[in-house]
């Protein structure tokens, strides 16, 4: 448009110093009044204890304890199933474990990269456990960990987020470990909620830990693949599980019945996004209408649905 020589765009690039993948997934966007600071767990099956997270964004009032976290006690060891949403949340969880058992905490499972599930890991370093994650978790943490930490500290206060702890034991496909007469099956999933989702299955009690592959009551957040998520749910339904611990929602739900709302929401996203693309409805207009029939069925709907639609649109428009 100008007759002057135009500097090549590369000359204008600002210094590239960014490191963390700065995704906003599952990050606090608003301070809300949260639950009281009390940390209570519920024994949903013999030896399985779950703390229900509050359906809110991370805030000082909830110390980042917004995800469901817990622990499984075996014959000779304890496994932590997500260490919590902040250092304090992790410390509270560790104290809850010590009120129940003195067995060594040998395993800390980090179900996926989102901060509300894993920033409590630092509280368990003293136990020298294996920190277990999906084979793609280290990369995701390398990209986003520092940024998540900054964001969390901005909400909770300096020094209160907790360190970024890297997994020490990676799961590529599936593996099993024994807590002493209690085998836990761990499965690494394809891109779904994120691209690094790890689920657990306790055969003894028939309990599935899908982590954020299962949202109940709190609106799901899509940070991986919409079609992939639906596929992984089908695979999880084939397991001989009778109950599941959602990543967000009640401490336990029946399985597979408990995934009905999530599947309805994800299917709605798929169908209404495809219809919008077919009807030449642009991405901006799409975010304002798609899945709006789901608004009253989920907590925090307006904080996440628009982004979910954007991601769905991007994924489906090339079909």
């Amino acid at each position: 448009m100008s007759s002057r020589p135009v500097p090549h765009p590369l000359q204008l690039h600002r210094r590239r110093v960014l490191f963390g993948g700065l995704c906003l997934c599952c990050l606090p966007t608003r301070l809300r009044a949260g639950s009281p600071a009390g940390f209570a767990t519920e024994e949903i099956a013999p030896g399985i204890h779950v703390r229900r997270g509050v359906d809110a964004e991370a805030a000082v009032e909830n110390a980042g304890g917004i995800a469901n976290v817990g622990f499984i006690v075996g014959g000779d060891a304890v496994l932590v199933t997500d260490p919590g949403g902040s250092l304090a949340d992790g410390e509270n969880l560790r104290a809850a474990i010590r009120r129940v058992t003195d067995l060594p905490i040998r395993y800390v499972v980090m179900s996926h990269v989102h901060p509300d599930h894993i920033f409590g890991a630092g509280a368990f370093r003293q136990d020298n456990p294996a920190f277990i994650g999906h084979a793609r978790l280290p990369q995701a943490l390398a990209q986003r960990g520092a940024y998540y930490r900054e964001r969390l500290e901005a909400v909770l206060g300096p020094g209160r987020a907790g360190p970024v702890v890297m997994p020490t034991l990676l799961v590529e496909t599936a593996t099993e470990l024994d807590l002493g007469d209690r085998a836990i099956r761990m499965t690494a999933h394809g891109p779904a909620h994120t691209d690094n989702d790890l689920s657990l299955f306790d055969r003894r009690s028939g309990t599935l830990f899908p982590a954020d592959l299962l949202f109940v009551g709190r609106v799901p957040s899509l940070d991986g693949s919409l079609r992939g998520w639906l596929q992984e749910l089908v695979a999880l339904e084939a397991l001989p599980a009778t109950q599941a611990v959602p990543g967000h929602g009640p401490a336990r739900v029946d399985w597979p019945a408990g995934s009905a709302d999530l599947k309805r929401y994800l299917h709605t996203l798929v169908e209404e996004t495809r219809a919008a693309i077919r009807a030449n409805i642009g991405i901006t207009a799409a975010t304002e209408t798609i899945a709006s029939g789901e608004r009253d069925r989920w907590a925090l709907f307006d904080d996440y649905n628009g982004r979910n639609v954007t991601r769905a649109y991007k994924e489906l428009e090339w079909e």
């Binding site: 002057r4 590369l10 490191f19 954007t310």
Partner: protein, 269 residues
């Protein structure tokens, strides 16, 4: 220009929640940055207030920083010949520069961009008298530039150069037709890390898009790393006669070229 993106971003996010007005730095620093960018992009030319000439629509708060839809519209009676979009605080601030040809309609341009931190965006129009006119929007978004390379980019690399064209409604000769061009291209900006190799994926982005209708130029776009993965360009053109062919040529920073041709039928046919 010297400040690190990270430092700016972090400052901006302190107290992110209630403080809608929080911004990375003050108005004076923003004005200075825009001044530097003006110099770098437009040299010593003065840029006037674009009110009544150019508007920029962008979400106040982006839903997905890696895909922020923006629309630039210009007044039909002002003889706009080209527009530029500048995302002040992005690495690679000049997101796109477009020159409209004889059968292009400068009235409408839609793009999808990455936004790396809270930033001002400027849209600049050039009119046939050689004058420049600007308008600005402040956009809250962060992290769009280093969003990890995931499934999406793998899929777009596998299909690189594939294109789709969507026409809005039926084309009528002599009337502007709205179209959306979709280009499969990962538009790697050099800041994204590959999940498997752990290496930063080398920069490779769409540099030029030429669109013509039956041999006459619709538009010429120079793109940069701020365009989203799988660039999408919304535009209007003025078909003199129908049916006809809309041709697209894309060249990326690796000098790979991709071409596509789309039939534009006459209405009712």
């Amino acid at each position: 220009m010297r400040k690190s993106c990270l430092a700016l971003m972090v400052l901006g996010l302190l107290g992110p929640a209630t403080a809608i007005a929080q911004s990375t730095d003050d108005d004076a620093a923003r004005a200075e940055r825009w001044h530097e960018l003006q110099q770098a992009i437009f040299g010593d030319r003065t840029i006037g207030d674009g009110t009544g000439i150019i508007t920029l629509d962008a979400p106040q708060r982006a839903l997905d920083a890696a895909l922020v839809p923006i629309t630039i519209t210009t007044a039909a009676d002002r003889n706009v010949t080209g527009v530029a979009l500048v995302i002040d605080d992005n690495p690679g601030p000049l997101a796109a520069r477009v020159r409209f040809g004889p059968v292009g309609d400068p009235g409408f341009l839609a793009l999808r961009v990455r936004v790396n931190q809270y930033t001002l965006m400027h849209a600049v129009a050039e009119t046939s008298d050689g004058q420049l006119h600007e308008t600005a929007k402040f956009v809250k978004a962060a992290g769009g530039c280093s969003a990890p390379v995931g499934e999406n980019e793998a899929a777009s690399l596998a299909e690189i150069g594939r294109m789709k064209l969507r026409l809005q409604g039926e084309a009528v000769a002599g009337a502007p037709v709205e179209a959306q061009l979709m280009i499969r291209h990962p538009n790697f900006n050099g800041m994204q890390m590959d999940q498997l190799t752990r290496l930063y994926t080398p920069m490779r982005f769409v540099q030029v898009v030429d669109i013509s209708f039956d041999g006459a130029e619709v538009l010429h776009l120079e793109g940069d790393i701020s365009l989203s993965t799988d660039p999408v360009i919304g535009f209007r053109f003025l078909p003199g006669a129908l049916p006809g062919k809309l041709k697209v040529m894309v060249r990326d920073s690796d000098n790979a070229t991709y071409e596509a041709s789309f039939d534009v039928p006459a209405s009712g046919s």
